[in-house]
């Protein structure tokens, strides 16, 4: 069971501190607060190699276990003296952070400070005597009295949203990212909050391409996330691709069916129409929630988004040329960065890049060179030639030019082919409600071996 919960700023200030009394028995008063400082010392002393999940603090033969997550630049920490499930606690802390974000609009030191009374109230309803009671906004909204105080920082994004220059920019077609960051319970009196609902399909792509261009491993982890600002909860129907199939099917044939290996649903999702019509029925509670998670291992329906044709030669220095091809024709990749490991002791590099907006630099500390492409149009092909100067070059040095890794973001695109066919709200819903559907694919781990 949870003994204490606290939220610390990145500097170690106590923002929220809640003791479920079990500790107090042994330490009492001020001493119990010391555990927070102990935690902060421990967490800042962590090197990257240590597991951040669980830390033990030995205090006069009584172990105190800290479990924490970092979100919004804050430490969300729970401590315990018993043998609880770390999964429960991590899930809970993540949920607590998400709820804080839902209630306060954004997640920052400032918003937590401004809304401490609200957060205490939330915590009281969510955890009793260390037992987690509920984390559902539907239930919580019956109990919570305090109103959120939201901060409205001045942001250029808001301006661009208005269409400042008269031209319809690329972004304004997509819902702006700040639009979704406001408290779910905007003051009851004024109906300032728009009736909006956001449905995001987010996929993370992991690919390993072997040295001969063979696809060795690929998998997609996807989720459908809803952020709901509707004042009353009513049933919503989300239609997915009708041809979606689940599980490894035997006959594949030529059908272009969209397939996922396995999916998990939020417990509020009703699946009675899912088997036949692929319709998810859900009464979204206010705030953010993941309604469906799915994954697909191997057998991607499309070719991997990037093909890299590297070649490495040894001369007086190492010459590596890279040819990069973006296979998706109708999408644009943003923030593409490619990391190529280079041998130890590389001192300098000369480069030839195929277009001016690209950059490349050698990072001798990381034994790598970094090639960055801010915007990569679909179907395009880029090339680069790097000459790396390595004193004391040997044949073994070539082996150190290891696997190339890439990171990127594909907007308006899912690799699994999963699509939201429609989004229907129950007709009882009064007032105009805006519905947004967004797709994005991130690279999780995209590796090309040489």
């Amino acid at each position: 069971m949870i003994s204490q919960i606290f939220i610390l700023s990145s500097k170690g200030d106590h923002l929220i501190y809640k003791d479920y009394h079990i500790i107090m028995k042994h330490f009492r008063g001020e001493a119990s607060k010391d555990s927070i400082n102990v935690f902060y010392e421990m967490v800042t002393a962590l090197s990257g190699d240590q597991t951040p999940v669980v830390m033990v603090h030995l205090c006069s033969h009584k172990d105190l276990h800290f479990i924490h997550v970092r979100q919004g630049g804050l430490y969300w920490v729970a401590s315990t003296k018993t043998n609880p499930s770390p999964f429960t606690i991590i899930e809970f802390l993540n949920r607590l952070a998400a709820l804080t974000k839902d209630y306060c609009g954004s997640l920052s030191e400032k918003s937590v400070r401004m809304n401490f009374a609200l957060i205490y109230e939330l915590l009281d309803e969510m955890v009793d005597f260390g037992y987690i009671q509920t984390t559902s906004t539907d239930i919580l909204k019956n109990f919570i009295q305090t109103e959120a105080v939201s901060s409205k920082p001045f942001s250029l994004f808001d301006l661009s949203n208005v269409g400042l220059f008269g031209a319809e920019t690329q972004q304004s077609k997509v819902a702006p990212s700040v639009a979704a960051s406001r408290p779910i319970m905007s003051s009851r009196g004024e109906q300032s909050g728009k009736n909006e609902i956001f449905v995001d399909v987010i996929e993370r792509l992991s690919v390993v391409i072997g040295s001969k261009g063979v696809l060795m491993k690929s998998d997609i982890q996807g989720e459908i996330r809803i952020k709901c600002f509707l004042p009353t909860s009513s049933e919503m129907r989300i239609g997915l691709n009708e041809e979606l199939s689940i599980g490894k099917s035997q006959q594949k044939g030529y059908s272009s069916a969209v397939r996922v290996d396995e999916c998990r649903f939020h417990q509020a999702v009703k699946l009675d129409e899912f088997d036949t019509f692929r319709i998810l029925k859900v009464c979204p509670s206010q705030g953010e929630q993941t309604v469906m998670q799915y994954q697909l291992c191997d057998e991607l329906p499309c070719a991997p988004p990037f093909q890299l044709f590297p070649s490495v030669q040894k001369d007086y220095y190492i010459v590596t040329s890279q040819l990069l091809f973006f296979t998706f024709s109708c999408s644009t990749a943003l923030n593409v960065s490619i990391t190529v490991p280079v041998p130890k002791g590389s001192v300098s590099m000369s480069q030839e890049l195929s277009s001016p907006d690209q950059t490349a630099e050698l990072q001798p500390k990381n034994k790598a060179l970094l090639w960055e492409i801010p915007r990569f149009p679909g179907g395009a092909q880029l090339s680069a030639l790097f000459k790396v100067d390595v004193p004391g070059l040997s044949s073994a040095s070539l082996l150190e030019v290891g696997p190339v890794s890439m990171s990127f973001e594909l907007a308006k695109q899912t690799c699994s082919g999963l699509q939201i066919r429609f989004l229907r709200l129950a007709p009882t819903q009064t007032g105009l409600s805006q519905r947004w559907v967004r797709y994005v694919t991130h690279s999780d781990s995209y590796t090309i071996r040489i």
Partner: protein
């Protein structure tokens, strides 16, 4: 106005100002003031002086203000107990408020105030709230019982709150059930022997129903509680598994892991040939794989758990090797855990894939990870023989990179490969020798020296190589020094003529100039050996070495079992039992997996009139436990059939082979193994006593604790001669049935104390029930059928015995040897039905029916069925 202003630094008169504001007439102002007080409290300022003023704000109908005041009270009531009493009246009043939110709030807050005086006032309101009409109040009250128990356990018991809490398990609201279960579980932990959470099929059924309806967090409480239940047979455990399985697709990973824990535990009870068992195995894989798509923190926790699961049941994830391949952006602690699991899952089928991955990892940047990857290649070679050659060539490739730590790590693992496959890969030694200079770590140097010494006869310049190490002998670490000493002695024994000088040199270095006692002692021993008997020295130093084992880092089986029972908890992350890190008495009970049993107990109830009969209901359960697994325990009908022994000839009662009952390490060198036998109507305990200590043992004596059937030694244990070191003596101890009787759990458990001149040692063992079957156990044929029919259905038990290839006559003969008598036989539809009787030493009769299916030769007697019915025979 925002709340952040409360945090701005405060000046001297702040408390005074707050006091004034708290006493203001305006509600808004009051609220703001209380908020300021709480803000100060949060940052650690002492605002206890304001206690009376804050308490004054308590009587308000504004819920928000009330909540704030309660928050303050929880923190400071302890330091201001007298003031806290002032609040009691409001609490009691609030507990009767028409608004359920306020009732619950009052009960919740009162429980958090750890002041003894308040607890007395709490009892009445709590009693009311436990029966409140609103479920929100009831669920809060349920937790409050746990709080109160933590403050004053006696009070809770005296007031009968525990019984009310038990009643709440049957509540209509799932949230109330979940909290009641959580509270009871915690209270039960501090009373290990209490029967608080009396789990029986009815309550389990209620819990399973609530499971489907309550929140995700409630599901976790309920699943954790279910995991402590012991199903009484495999059907029940299957039905629980079926109802828990849907939880595996829950979005909350904590729910998934708790469900996995329940399934892993109850799977133990399922027969492996059951179709459902296979289905369940398949269903467990996808959720575990999905856990790996979570954030790194959760992945790490998941991997630590998967590591346990893979050790217990590798078949679950054997096809999922790919998900454990590391991603370049995994944190290092995730990478290392993944590597560990990859090696555990490595098999002939996937070794090529694994090796290709490991080779990639060996060129990565992170040193720790690269080292572990190289080591993993070596472990693969040792584990999968077919891959050894490929592993060795991969390692040689890596040595070519000349990356210092890669070379060193490779040499360390190649040493292990040499030990596993002697005389196979020695051709690579030349390559290894080339890298001698780059070795700077003791472990690698020691490994290299071992290789040189071990294969001295094949390395032409072995003496030069070793001599080069000898130059800096004193600067080496102890590990290297010891290895060097041994290697040079080996070299000397193999090439005595050329290396006389070298061996002299190392022996004098080791014995004269070193202050390490291990090194000196080893040096002296070698010296003596070499100077007195070189032939003996050769036998000792160049002796055949035992092969090294395949699996390393395996968790010890009993610990693994316990950890499996704690899947998803901190224990499973630390890989330590909870008792190792949880304070005090809590959680000290060691959990165990249920024993695998091949039986199906259909009906099981006690027999009226006889307490022993009540025990017998369980007896069949204890017997066939031995059929499925270890033959050592108990010894039931399966043992009686004695599958390995001479077929068909009844050679008297079955005697199980001796098993070790008392380990030498636990008994100062005395090892006891033994078995039980019934010979000519006399029960004997056959013991082998072995002295593994250095001194002589005398004065042996034995005593039994009270047990279910009153077994006791009929005479003293006859050990006439003293037992000298390393000597074993066999003793037969005749037993009588006249000892004191006490029901044991399991029924056939026997606790024994053995004394010798050193100490008294205790152990427990289990005797086969067949020991108690008497020779005149033939029931009257005429009354058999009538008696059979008179036995009430509910005292029947049914179970199966598997894999017995005997026909009914042979089986019947064999059983007769153990005093199980066949009274009648009848054949119905290809099935032989044997009606049998047994009489126990204490006069209890057992009637049985055994069905043997004939026809299919493979299944001749696979499924005989025995229906035991016990009844008291009055003669």
């Amino acid at each position: 106005m925002t709340d952040s202003k409360y945090f701005t630094t405060t000046k001297k008169g702040e408390i005074f100002e707050l006091k004034a504001e708290l006493n203001s007439d305006k509600k808004e102002k009051k609220k703001e003031a209380v908020k300021k007080v709480i803000a100060s409290m949060t940052v650690g300022k002492d605002v206890s002086a304001l206690f009376p003023d804050v308490v004054n704000c308590m009587q308000t109908d504004n819920l928000e203000l009330k909540k704030l005041v309660y928050l303050y009270l929880m923190n400071y009531a302890k330091s201001q107990p007298d003031m806290a009493i002032m609040a009691v009246n409001t609490f009691v009043k609030d507990c009767e408020d028409p608004n359920p939110l306020i009732r619950a709030l009052a009960v919740r807050t009162m429980g958090c105030i750890r002041v003894d005086k308040i607890t007395e006032y709490l009892c009445e309101p709590l009693r009311k709230c436990l029966k409140d009409e609103d479920p929100y109040v009831r669920k809060t009250a349920a937790v409050c019982v746990a709080k109160l128990h933590d403050i004053n356990a006696q009070l809770v018991e005296d007031q009968g709150f525990l019984d009310t809490l038990k009643d709440l398990i049957s509540d209509s609201n799932p949230m109330v059930v979940a909290n009641a279960v959580a509270a009871l579980s915690e209270i039960a932990e501090s009373h290990p022997n209490s029967n608080l959470l009396d789990l029986n099929p009815q309550t389990i059924n209620k819990l399973l129903t609530a499971l489907n309806e309550c929140t995700e967090w409630g599901q976790i409480f309920i699943l954790d509680c279910l995991a402590n239940y012991m199903p009484c047979d495999d059907r029940e455990s299957q039905s629980i598994c079926e109802r828990v399985t849907p939880r595996l697709s829950h979005a909350n990973s904590a729910v998934v892991l708790s469900a996995v824990k329940v399934l892993m535990k109850f799977m133990e009870m399922l027969p492996k040939d059951l179709d459902y068992y296979g289905t369940l195995l398949k269903k467990l894989a996808p959720p575990l794989v999905t856990l790996l798509s979570a954030e790194a923190e959760l992945q790490y926790v998941a991997l630590r758990n998967i590591n346990l699961i893979v050790q217990k049941r590798p078949e679950i994830l054997k096809h999922e090797m790919k998900v454990f391949f590391v991603k370049y952006n995994d944190p290092i602690y995730v990478k290392l855990e993944k590597l560990d699991i990859m090696i555990r899952l490595a098999s002939q089928a996937n070794i090529a894939q694994v090796l290709a991955e490991l080779k990639e990892y060996a060129t990565e940047v992170d040193v720790d990870f690269v080292r572990k990857a190289v080591r993993a290649i070596g472990r693969c070679a040792i584990k999968v023989e077919q891959s050894a050659e490929r592993c060795v060539s991969t390692l040689l490739d890596l040595i070519q990179t000349k990356v210092n730590y890669v070379v060193q790590e490779a040499i360390v693992v190649i040493k292990d490969i040499f030990r596993k496959y002697p005389n196979k890969y020695e051709s690579v030694i030349a390559t290894l020798c080339e890298n001698l200079d780059s070795l700077d770590e003791p472990e690698a140097r020691a490994a290299m020296i071992w290789i040189v010494g071990e294969y001295a006869e094949r390395i032409d310049n072995a003496d030069e190589l070793l001599e080069s190490f000898l130059e800096g002998f004193h600067d080496e670490s102890a590990q290297v020094q010891l290895q060097l000493l041994t290697a040079i002695v080996k070299l000397f024994l193999k090439k005595p003529t050329e290396t006389q000088e070298l061996v002299q040199q190392v022996l004098s270095l080791a014995t004269q100039d070193s202050d390490n006692p291990d090194l000196r002692d080893r040096g002296y021993i070698y010296w003596r050996l070499l100077s007195t008997d070189p032939v003996a020295a050769k036998e000792v130093v160049l002796a055949e070495k035992p092969l090294i084992s395949e699996e390393t880092d395996l968790i010890e089986p009993t610990l693994l079992e316990e950890l499996i029972c704690h899947i998803g908890t901190l224990a499973s992350v630390y890989h330590k039992p909870p008792s190792a890190f949880v304070e005090g008495s809590r959680g000290v009970q060691h959990k165990r997996l249920p024993a695998r049993a091949v039986i199906t107990l259909v009906k099981r109830t006690g027999l009226s009139g006889s307490n022993m009969g009540a025990g017998l209901g369980v007896a069949p359960a204890a017997m066939p436990a031995s059929l499925g697994g270890a033959p050592a325990v108990g010894g039931g009908l399966g043992d009686l059939f004695d599958l390995g022994g001479g077929v068909g000839m009844p050679t008297g009662s079955y005697v199980a082979p001796k098993t070790v009952w008392l380990l030498a390490i636990k008994a100062k060198g005395l090892e006891i193994s033994g078995t039980f036998a019934r010979r000519g109507g006399i029960i004997q305990m056959d013991l082998s006593l072995t002295n593994k200590a250095m001194s002589v043992m005398t004065d042996f004596a034995v005593q039994f604790n009270r047990n279910s059937f009153g077994l006791a030694p009929a005479g003293p244990m006859q050990v006439l001669t003293p037992l000298s070191p390393n000597q074993t003596i066999d003793v037969s101890l005749p037993l009588s049935m006249s000892g004191p009787v006490m029901k044991m759990e399991p029924l056939n458990n026997l606790q024994v104390a053995v004394k010798n001149n050193i100490d008294v040692f205790y152990f427990s063992c289990q005797y086969p029930l067949s020991l108690l079957f008497v020779e005149d156990g033939r029931f009257y044929r005429q009354v058999f059928l009538a008696t059979w029919k008179d036995i009430p259905n509910d005292s029947e038990a049914q179970f199966q015995i598997k894999d017995i290839h005997l026909n009914s006559d042979v089986a019947s003969n064999k059983l007769q040897g153990s005093n199980i008598f066949t009274i009648a036989k009848r054949t119905v539809e290809g099935q032989d039905m044997l009606y049998q009787s047994i009489k126990l030493t204490n006069g209890i009769w057992v009637l049985a029916e055994m069905r043997i299916q004939t026809g299919n030769p493979n299944y001749t007697c696979t499924v005989p069925r025995i229906v035991y019915a016990s009844l008291l025979h009055s003669q």
